[in-house]
């Protein structure tokens, strides 16, 4: 016998560590059990070395040889442990055998399914026999009430057994509870832990509950839907079948769909389960950790049980329910077939992993020895090494494929469940009655109060999308009527009702935030717009007492980034300050913490950015919410943008091309804006900004030209005839202007070509304006059309207007972004050289006069605010100085760093001043850019708003707070130095 025992223990040692508990029990009691059986002459009745087909009889024999209660318990535990080990070892052997000659996953799936069904049945049979005998030992039949023990968990899972015990409510239930308590202790010590969640919260007793107690609990409120799911899963293990039948009829069946009847229980269950399914659907699969339950099984189980209640299926086993669903819901049978595959795969993976490795749900891939563990699981599931690819690699690939498939099926079937929920909802009638103005007049109550009252039953459920849909519907007046009814209440009552809604928001953050956002966006259409702020206040109040708010907000953010972005948009500065305090908490799970950091980052962007920046930010995030994930990985945003740019020419329609090009523009703006907010160097920002805007304008010109050609049905050759120049800030290669100064030049007086070019510009204009950047055409006003002819410009400058030096400055500072070298040469020869370079003394004199006349007025140094561009010592002065040098030395380069380098090589005597000037310019330009991005797109710097800029530019006091005073002094001092330096330099002219 010892040889057999050693063999069994050896086999069991290859299984998970949890089997040590059984080995320990066998070691402790085996010898005395065998001795007692031998003494009684009954040893041959028992299957010691293989699984028994006669569990009940053999357990009775084992019990019969125990001399007292303690010995009976010990012998029974020993026998149970032996059978448990046999059961697990045998099940794996059978599985391996069945899979031995099968090569594809498709063929393995039905075997997995049968394996799981049989494993579940075997485990239930073993534990039921054991428990039934234990209860018999713990209490005498006469002392017990009528009761039934229900199994409510998944059948095969061996970590714990979920039970519910229904009793008849009689006085004898005390004895039953005592017996259940002892049974639970015994099972915990020597076999498998029991959980009584279904019944422990229901009535006065801990382990059992009566049907009346269930009614008392469930009649008024849905309570938590997890209890309901457990009830729907309930199977009698032993005890009174009559009582179970009564429980079915009086409690469980109320959650089934009933045509033409009140379906509020069914609706409440569905609202609960829909919220649960959705939360798992939007959960990202963790790449370092597998968790079959969270990755797929909870979603699938939710769908199966909602199907069970909708189609009134009286089965408990999930595979059996699926069989019925395929039949009863024939149109969706294809989805159920797929769902069954995922269920079988995930369940068998989870079960075999737990048998071999441990009972934990989380499988950390970088745990020591996990590769070997998974290899064993993979081989048991029929996988083999193929070349260098190990079996467990194949298994993991399938795991991820099936997890994704689970999400796809869930997303599809979820829509049908939602539709069903809406169709049976008790809110539908209320909503439809109130959404039409005319019907509403006859609405008898107050919508806001009625809704609150009605929703009390559904407390704790998270799915309210259908109500949101009604509220969002622009053709409906439901929102107006709802808010109107709140406004009609007396102030104290109104306050109370809003507070109540605030408390209700706790249960369902997503619908709450959606509602608040909708309300704020539409507040001006409502009777009392101030109600929006009151609701937000109530929401914030609730959040302050909600201990898991950070995790929950993070989850809503990771599922609905656009919603959270919209929500941040509606908050006032004061609300934002309050909200920022609510996010101060770290999260345990790495991916949650990463998402939380992103959420905080998004919040900070909203908190510290101007409308100018938000305009671009919101546009791209609304269109591509997923990009929020890259807000902290700007390289990734860069790669996406380059990918967009690189694939534009493979798109076939104008609309597709322009949409992608516009996205490229916005994304690049966003990326560089974020770089700037991180304090990136100004030279880098200017260079990259210029590159992307040049690319944008060049490609926009190309696609607009192609589209005009297509529409006209002919092709115009414009080579060497057309050029687009960027003037203003973009011409000077500076980032973050809010407009594009463009000069569209044409060297051809043919009217048809001019009209053709005009069409191209109009098309470009339209797109540029949609980016929120206003295009200006320098000479459009003067000549009456977008296009400027070279001849017209020549004629214009030949007239020698007194103030034409401003226009000449634009031309001189312009940079060609579309056009040929031939055109540039012609432009230089016809316009720049004769009108500016050849008359540079006159041009320089006018510029110097202009500067000096402005410098007469030193008032802005005393001004409270700073005029950073046009003020004395501002950026405009530096620009003028560069134009002066450019004109003086007749240099080709636009007003960029290359030009400055050229000037430095010529003006060697002024090198120090010029180098200083570059530093001053970079400093002032960075102040200006950051002010535009954080405060406002204005060149008038209001000093009281400079704090965020000072922070980014690292002006801090000793206590770590931004040192705005010092920063302002530095700006003023720099402008003064610019002024002095420029005065000194122009005095040489």
């Amino acid at each position: 016998m010892q040889k057999y025992l050693s063999r069994l223990k050896n086999r069991a040692n290859s299984l998970g560590n949890q089997h040590q508990k059984y080995i320990r029990t066998i070691d402790k009691y085996f010898d005395s059990l065998v001795a007692s059986l031998e003494n009684a002459g009954k040893v041959e009745y028992i299957h010691f070395w293989q699984g028994t087909p006669r569990l009940n009889q053999e357990m009775d024999v084992v019990l019969s040889v125990g001399k007292n209660l303690e010995e009976k318990l010990a012998f029974l535990a020993c026998y149970y442990s032996l059978q448990m080990l046999h059961m697990n070892i045998r099940s794996i052997d059978v599985l391996r055998l069945q899979l031995a000659e099968i090569s594809t996953l498709e063929q393995r799936i039905p075997i997995y399914k049968n394996f799981m069904i049989n494993s579940g049945k075997d485990f239930r049979k073993l534990t039921a026999s054991y428990m039934e005998r234990l209860i018999g030992l713990m209490a005498t039949q006469e002392n017990l009430p009528e009761f039934v023990v229900l199994g409510v968990g998944s059948l095969a899972h061996q970590d714990d057994i979920d039970l519910g015990v229904i009793d008849d409510g009689s006085d004898k239930r005390k004895s039953l509870n005592l017996a259940m308590h002892k049974l639970s202790q015994e099972m915990f010590r020597r076999a498998t832990e029991l959980h009584f969640y279904l019944t422990e919260h229901v009535g006065v007793e801990f382990y059992t509950a009566s049907i009346e107690e269930f009614k008392g609990l469930l009649d008024a409120e849905i309570q938590d839907f997890i209890i309901i799911t457990e009830m729907l899963n309930a199977v009698p293990i032993f005890g009174s079948k009559k009582l179970f039948k009564q429980f079915l009829q009086e409690i469980i069946f109320r959650y089934y769909f009933q045509k033409h009847n009140d379906n509020k229980y069914h609706e409440a269950y569905l609202r609960g389960i829909l919220g649960e399914i959705r939360s798992f659907l939007f959960r990202n699969i963790n790449h370092d950790k597998l968790n079959p339950k969270d990755d797929a099984l909870r979603m699938l189980q939710g769908l199966i049980f909602s199907g069970k209640t909708i189609f009134r299926i009286h089965r408990e086993n999930r595979w059996e329910i699926l069989e019925d669903l395929k039949r009863k819901d024939h149109n969706r049978s294809g989805y159920y077939v797929e769902l069954e595959k995922v269920l079988s795969f995930m369940e068998v993976f989870r079960h075999v992993f737990q048998l071999y490795v441990g009972l934990e749900e989380d499988i950390y891939l970088d745990d020591p020895g996990m590769g070997d563990n998974l290899q064993l699981v993979a081989q048991t599931l029929g996988y083999h090494d193929i070349g260098a690819i190990r079996a467990w690699d194949h298994l993991l690939i399938h795991y991820h494929e099936y997890a994704e498939l689970a999400k796809r099926i869930t997303a599809r079937l979820l829509e049908d469940v939602k539709e069903h929920t809406q169709s049976i909802s008790s809110f539908s009638l209320m909503a439809s009655q109130a959404k039409e103005a005319e019907n509403y007049r006859s609405y008898p109550g107050n919508l806001a109060i009625d809704f609150l009252r009605k929703s009390h039953f559904f407390k704790g459920t998270k799915y309210w999308d259908d109500i949101l849909r009604y509220l969002t519907d622009e053709n409906s007046h439901l929102l107006e009527n709802f808010i109107g009814d709140i406004c009609s209440l007396a102030p104290r009552m109104r306050e109370l009702i809003i507070k109540k809604y605030g408390q209700a928001f706790r249960q369902a953050l997503y619908p709450s935030i959606s509602f608040l956002t909708l309300l704020a966006q539409r507040k001006h259409q409502l009777r009392c717009p101030e109600i929006s702020a009151a609701f937000i206040e109530a929401f914030m109040e609730m959040l302050t007492t909600c201990s898991d708010r950070v995790l929950r907000l993070t989850k809503v953010f990771s599922w609905y980034p656009k919603l959270i972005n919209d929500f941040f948009m509606i908050l006032t500065d004061k609300q934002r300050r309050r909200f920022s305090l609510l996010l101060e908490q770290d999260l345990w799970e790495q991916h949650d913490q990463r998402n939380k950091e992103l959420l905080v980052h998004l919040f900070e962007i909203h908190n510290n950015s101007s409308h100018y920046f938000k305009r671009f930010f919101t546009r791209i995030i609304n269109k591509h919410p997923y990009y929020i994930n890259y807000l902290k990985e700007l390289n990734a945003l860069d790669h996406i943008a380059q990918g967009m740019l690189g694939t534009i020419d493979s798109l076939t329609t104008f609309d597709d091309c322009k949409n992608q090009l516009n996205d490229f523009h916005d994304l690049e703006f966003l990326r560089l804006g974020l770089e700037a907010l991180r304090g990136a160097p100004i030279e880098m920002l200017d260079a990259e900004f210029t590159l992307f805007t040049d690319n944008y304008l060049q490609l926009l010109f190309d696609i607009a030209k192609q589209e005009v050609n297509r529409r006209l049905g002919r092709y115009f050759s414009t080579r060497d005839l057309i050029a687009i120049y960027a003037a203003g800030g973009h011409g000077r290669e500076q980032a973050f202007d809010d407009d594009y100064d463009l000069i569209f030049m044409l060297d051809e007086d043919d009217e048809e070509i001019r009209r053709y070019c005009n069409k191209i510009v109009s098309m470009m204009n339209c797109e540029i304006m949609r980016r929120g950047a206003m295009p200006h055409y320098r000479f459009a006003d003067h000549f009456g059309h977008y296009i400027t002819l070279v001849d017209d410009l020549d004629e214009f400058f030949s007239a020698n207007h007194e103030t034409d030096f401003i226009d000449k400055s634009q031309i001189l500072g312009a940079r060609m972004i579309v056009g040929t070298r031939k055109f540039q040469k012609k432009f230089l020869d016809r316009i720049i050289r004769p009108h500016i370079f050849d008359r540079n003394d006159e041009y320089i004199k006018k510029l110097i006069n202009e500067m000096r006349s402005r410098h007469q007025d030193k008032e802005n140094f005393q001004q409270e605010n700073i005029v950073i561009k046009e003020g004395i010592g501002g950026l405009r002065d530096i620009e003028f100085l560069l134009l002066i040098y450019k004109a003086k030395y007749q240099l080709d380069e636009p007003l960029n760093m290359k030009l400055i380098q050229q000037i430095l090589t010529i003006e060697t005597e002024s090198k120090t001043e010029l180098l200083n000037l570059i530093q001053y310019r970079n400093f002032l330009k960075q102040v200006r850019d950051l002010y535009r991005l954080t405060v406002s797109a204005s060149d008038l710097i209001k000093v009281e708003y400079l704090q965020p800029v000072a922070k980014i530019m690292a002006y801090f006091k000793e206590d770590g707070q931004p040192d705005t005073e010092k920063f302002i002094t530095e700006i003023r001092k720099t402008m003064e130095q610019v002024h002095v330096t420029i005065d000194k330099l122009i005095s040489k002219f």
Binding site: H181, F188, H195, I226, G358, D367, P368, W588, E589
Partner: protein, 183 residues
């Protein structure tokens, strides 16, 4: 004299507190031969991200298996500390993670602050074993289960291949526990 010792391990989902509770209860019941029960957060509470595991250890029959007057509370998050410290008995023990719990409650209990998660990360090399480190500290501070029983229970629960790492975590936790117990 008989005793009933109530322990609550609390924090966030994923911190392995349910597993820690099971290990502790099994150490007491299976390996030390005491009476023990274990229960855990379930239902919406568990879905919400909070995690709680309760263990009651007694030398007598445990009549009511829910913890009400705590002798020992482990709090790995500020929220858990805020929520449960009110359930502590006088002269009980409150063990908190020093980095996660910044604000300590006003309770008549002995409070120990230990950087449990940091210890797991830096000394064992794996943050996921913070639960086992905490069990080591708990054992040293309370002696409510024997170290040998706890170690056996750990080994009988953890996934194959991770036994040595978890043993190290338990031992390091105990070392820190003994150090702070001396002070």
């Amino acid at each position: 004299m008989s005793y009933r010792y109530e322990i609550r391990l609390s924090g966030e989902g994923g911190q392995g507190l349910v597993l820690a509770g099971k290990i502790l209860a099994e150490a007491a019941a299976i390996y030390d031969g005491k009476n023990a029960t274990q229960s855990q957060s379930y239902g919406p509470e568990a879905r919400g991200g909070a995690s709680r595991s309760e263990v009651i250890i007694s030398d007598e029959e445990i009549d009511y298996p829910k913890a009400m007057h705590l002798d020992f509370l482990l709090a790995l998050t500020q929220e858990a500390c805020n929520r449960y410290s009110g359930d502590l008995k006088e002269n009980a023990i409150l063990l908190v993670d020093a980095d996660a719990v910044k604000t300590l409650p006003q309770v008549k209990a002995t409070i120990y602050k230990m950087p449990i998660i940091e210890i797991a990360r830096n000394e064992v090399g794996r943050v996921m074993v913070a639960n086992i480190v905490a069990l080591g500290i708990l054992q040293a501070l309370t002696d409510i289960v024997s170290y040998e029983a706890l170690e056996s229970a750990v080994l009988a629960r953890v996934p194959k291949g991770t036994e040595e790492m978890n043993q190290r975590a338990l031992s390091i936790g105990r070392k820190y526990g003994l150090e702070i117990a001396k002070k």
